[in-house]
């Protein structure tokens, strides 16, 4: 377990909903609902956090959800209880998944790989537990390839990495580097906020 990352997100937990629960979440909700509408089969959801994403889940699914922060998951409990389906939430580090190989049909992430310390390693770990041909569905913010946004996001990362996410991650490249086949990248705001659909090659 990466205790440093866990401590960072435990510390962020009390204010997380205040900072992210209104503006960003309301803005992104339609895109998340569209992405999560693909949920089918045995699902792993990475980084459930305080459960803000649960409102965008389609009802009736059985979802295994993990997060590195027990304090985040503690705040998620009422949302988990209110979900019209089954969510089994547990504290786990993506770098050290306790699931058997090829356990899941699909993996979903939501604003996660801005924060995973070793993103390629984390994605490879997810690939291990994903069945061959299984889908990786990501809602992420990444760095930009365009100026001046690229500079701004590099500067912001120097500040935000201390208490939250990195702003300049090359997540699409990381997905490819981790051995997935990228099917679709859908830019939702500039080339920064996007959905990524990829598969583990059979």
């Amino acid at each position: 377990m990466d205790m440093r990352t866990q401590a960072k997100w435990d510390k962020a937990a009390p204010n997380f909903d205040f900072m992210a629960g209104r503006g960003a979440e309301n803005r992104w909700r339609p895109f998340k609902q569209d992405l999560f509408s693909h949920m089918d089969g045995n699902i792993l959801f990475l980084a459930l956090g305080t459960g803000l994403d649960i409102d965008a889940f389609p009802p009736g699914k059985t979802i295994t959800a993990i997060d590195i922060s027990p304090k985040m998951l503690a705040q998620a409990k009422p949302r988990i209880a209110a979900y019209k389906g089954t969510i089994q939430a547990q504290v786990m580090d993506v770098h050290d998944l306790e699931f058997a190989d090829a356990s899941f049909d699909q993996v979903f992430t939501s604003c996660t790989f801005c924060s995973v310390p070793d993103p390629v390693g984390g994605l490879q770990s997810l690939r291990r537990v994903l069945k061959p041909g299984g889908g990786l569905y990501m809602f992420e913010h990444t760095g930009s390839r365009y100026y001046p946004f690229k500079i701004m996001m590099n500067l912001m990362t120097r500040l935000t990495a201390r208490f939250g996410p990195d702003m300049d991650r090359p997540t699409v490249d990381n997905v490819k580097a981790a051995g997935y086949r990228v099917l679709e990248v859908n830019n939702l705001f500039l080339d920064v906020v996007k959905t990524i659909k990829a598969v583990k090659p059979a």
Partner: protein
Amino acid sequence: MDSRLYFVLGDLAANIVAGLVAGWLCALVISTGWNMFLAMLLAMAIGMLVGLVLFFPFGIFFGAMEIMLPIMFSGMLAGMVVGMYAAMMPVSGSLGALYGAVCGLVGIVTVWVANVGLRGVRGMERGN
């Protein structure tokens, strides 16, 4: 751009305020006779800093990246324009704020136009 009225108005307000504050500050800080290039660099940095600070209150209500990037850009643009202007001739705080607010409006419209070009499905192309 997000077509929902709440977010359109939020984008406009955030960028106009960021430009206004950045322009006002730069008009106060930069004096006539400064080296124009150095004044521009300092003013752009002030503008970006203003955008960064204002991201937190506006971001809570209107979004994350969709607020942070435009207001930092608008602050930088307002700083650049007002900073260079103030280095050439005296600019009052209120005039700097007015120019800054206009720069904020230009900034968000520029980002909206850029977004039209960049958003959408990109298939398997190289990307971040």
